[in-house]
């Protein structure tokens, strides 16, 4: 067993991948908590897909991929807001169209600009491609996002719980929204290095809703979510290593397994636990 765990660590790429996996496993669920409590989980999916044209253009121009990805991720949130506020079109339809269109534009640009980016690696993640520079980048961005959440925690709590009330007491809700979108987009971008564009939303939302079934406060949801995310990320990466799977699907399926466990056995809300508690008094009657 020990050998099984330690053997991959002898490779440098795997050390990098595991370090990045732990960082992403902590960061994604903490930021994802805000997506879940605002019922915006799908927005994460939209932004993740929408960064693709940015990656293609940045690669073509030879600039930092992160900048292109960030620009297009944020642009997609503005497009959604713009469609929603300028017409009667509801947010779900606006999101569906934006996400498909940006993704299509991304695939088109990758082709037209003869990009050397590997589409499959972008879509599903690849632990072989994680460099030490990536680990530093993820670490620094993650630190910045987490510090911002810590500093603005009480404002973010008020805003996400009761936006109208927050606006009524004069909190700058538009700036808070923009800040939140920035944090979400940055997190998605660093997360997709490990999990890939298509599946990164699973690492943001899955551990967060797993924690949601176990605790009763937002900060607890973040802490438990980060624990679940880290564990799922590590388990997924070992599966990826030994079964030669892309890391994204391996992690996403592990996340889902943890969620199922919580859904069935959560002490307060689990399906099985609830049945069990209900059956206890009836047994004692007999």
């Amino acid at each position: 067993m020990m050998n099984w765990l330690l053997e991959p660590l002898t490779y440098e790429f795997m050390q990098n991948a595991l370090a990045a996996g732990i960082l992403v496993g902590i960061l994604c669920p903490i930021v994802g908590t805000y997506l879940v409590v605002q019922r915006m989980a799908l927005l994460g999916d939209v932004i993740a897909h929408a960064v693709l044209p940015g990656l293609a253009i940045a690669n073509f121009l030879g600039i930092e991929l992160l900048i292109g990805a960030f620009a297009f991720g944020m642009l997609s949130t503005f497009v959604i807001t713009w469609i929603r506020t300028q017409s009667r079109v509801k947010v779900d339809a606006a999101m569906a169209l934006t996400f498909a269109s940006f993704f299509a534009l991304g695939v088109t640009l990758l082709k037209l600009l003869h990009s050397r980016l590997d589409l499959e690696e972008l879509l599903f993640g690849d632990i072989l491609s994680v460099t030490i520079a990536d680990v530093w980048r993820i670490g620094l961005i993650g630190l910045a996002v987490l510090v911002a959440i810590k500093l603005f925690y009480k404002e973010l709590l008020f805003y996400t719980f009761d936006r109208t009330g927050a606006e009524a007491v004069g909190l700058p809700v538009h700036k808070i929204h923009l800040g939140l979108m920035t944090g979400i987009t940055l997190t998605l971008i660093v997360g997709m290095k490990i999990v890939g564009v298509i599946l990164v939303v699973s690492l943001m939302v899955g551990p967060a809703i797993t924690a949601y079934l176990l605790v009763k406060e937002l900060h607890q949801m973040m802490i438990v979510g980060a624990g679940v995310g880290t564990l799922a990320s590590l388990v997924g990466m070992y599966l990826s290593y030994y079964l030669d799977l892309p890391s994204g699907p391996a992690i996403a399926l592990t996340v889902f397994a943890f969620f199922l466990l919580a859904l069935l056995f959560s002490p307060s809300q689990g399906i099985v636990t609830r049945r069990w508690w209900r059956s206890v008094p009836s047994r004692s009657h007999r």
Partner: protein
């Protein structure tokens, strides 16, 4: 003293409110009534600065927009996601967010204010409950505590009496009386008719424009009701005496 002058709100190609003028002295409790879609909630939201409006709204001579933290607001129950992972204590603590300022954690004073507010609504013992695990009346009391903890001068309530129990109603009315005695101004949106409306100092009858502004007795006349609710009311009125005729 709350003064509202020539307040109009334009919403989706139509006037939701037109030329509303009224004043409310400190210590006054005013009921806001009118049919569905009359603009009751719109008026409250405009006063809170949540909707663009024309005209002026001032509290003690200063524009409401410049002193938003002095206005406490209890939203309609339907506006809140009751499954949100937050405890009763932390909901009430939100009232202190603006006064604490950026980057500051709740201090001792804020905690004392929150504790006092929770004790006043008899919810201190349940402070660690997640809000979804409270009854409708208890949830309403938590929001009442949040309004109290804000230590505001103007209180706006959007249908606070909807779906609550007797105990909550009694606590709420007790608090309203205390706030009036402290010289606070209360504006309460109501959608039910009945004798209960007599508890207000004044009623504002609203249907896009301000139809009446007077004592409850003077406002609750058949003529006024017909003006607000339209012709549809007539057949019902002939068959049975309306409950608000006291």
């Amino acid at each position: 003293m709350l003064e509202v002058e020539r307040l109009s709100v334009h919403y989706r190609d139509a006037w939701a409110l037109e030329n509303i003028n009224f004043a409310a002295a400190s210590g006054e409790m005013i009921g806001l009534i009118g049919p569905n879609g009359a603009g009751k909630s719109t008026l409250i939201k405009a006063l809170l600065g949540l909707l663009p409006m024309q005209g002026e709204a001032t509290l003690n001579g200063i524009s409401l927009r410049q002193q938003r933290h002095r206005i406490a607001y209890v939203p309609q129950r339907s506006q809140i996601d009751w499954d949100y992972p937050v405890t009763a204590w932390n909901v009430v603590m939100m009232a202190r967010t603006a006064s604490l300022g950026w980057f500051r954690k709740p201090n001792c004073q804020a905690e004392q204010i929150v504790q006092a507010a929770l004790e006043r609504v008899e919810m201190f013992d349940l402070r660690q409950r997640q809000i979804g695990q409270l009854s409708g009346g208890q949830q309403q009391r938590i929001f009442l505590a949040r309004a109290l903890a804000q230590q505001a001068d103007l209180f706006l309530f959007d249908e606070p009496f909807t779906g609550i129990d007797k105990k909550t109603e009694a606590i709420m009315l007790g608090i309203f009386a205390e706030l009036r005695a402290q010289g606070k101004t209360l504006l309460i949106c109501n959608h039910e008719w009945g004798k209960a409306l007599n508890r207000y100092d004044r009623l504002l009858l609203l249907n896009r424009v301000l139809l009446a502004d007077d004592t409850p007795k003077a406002v609750m006349t058949f003529d006024n009701i017909q003006r607000a609710y339209g012709e549809n009311l007539q057949p019902v009125a002939q068959q049975a005496e309306l409950p608000f005729f006291c």
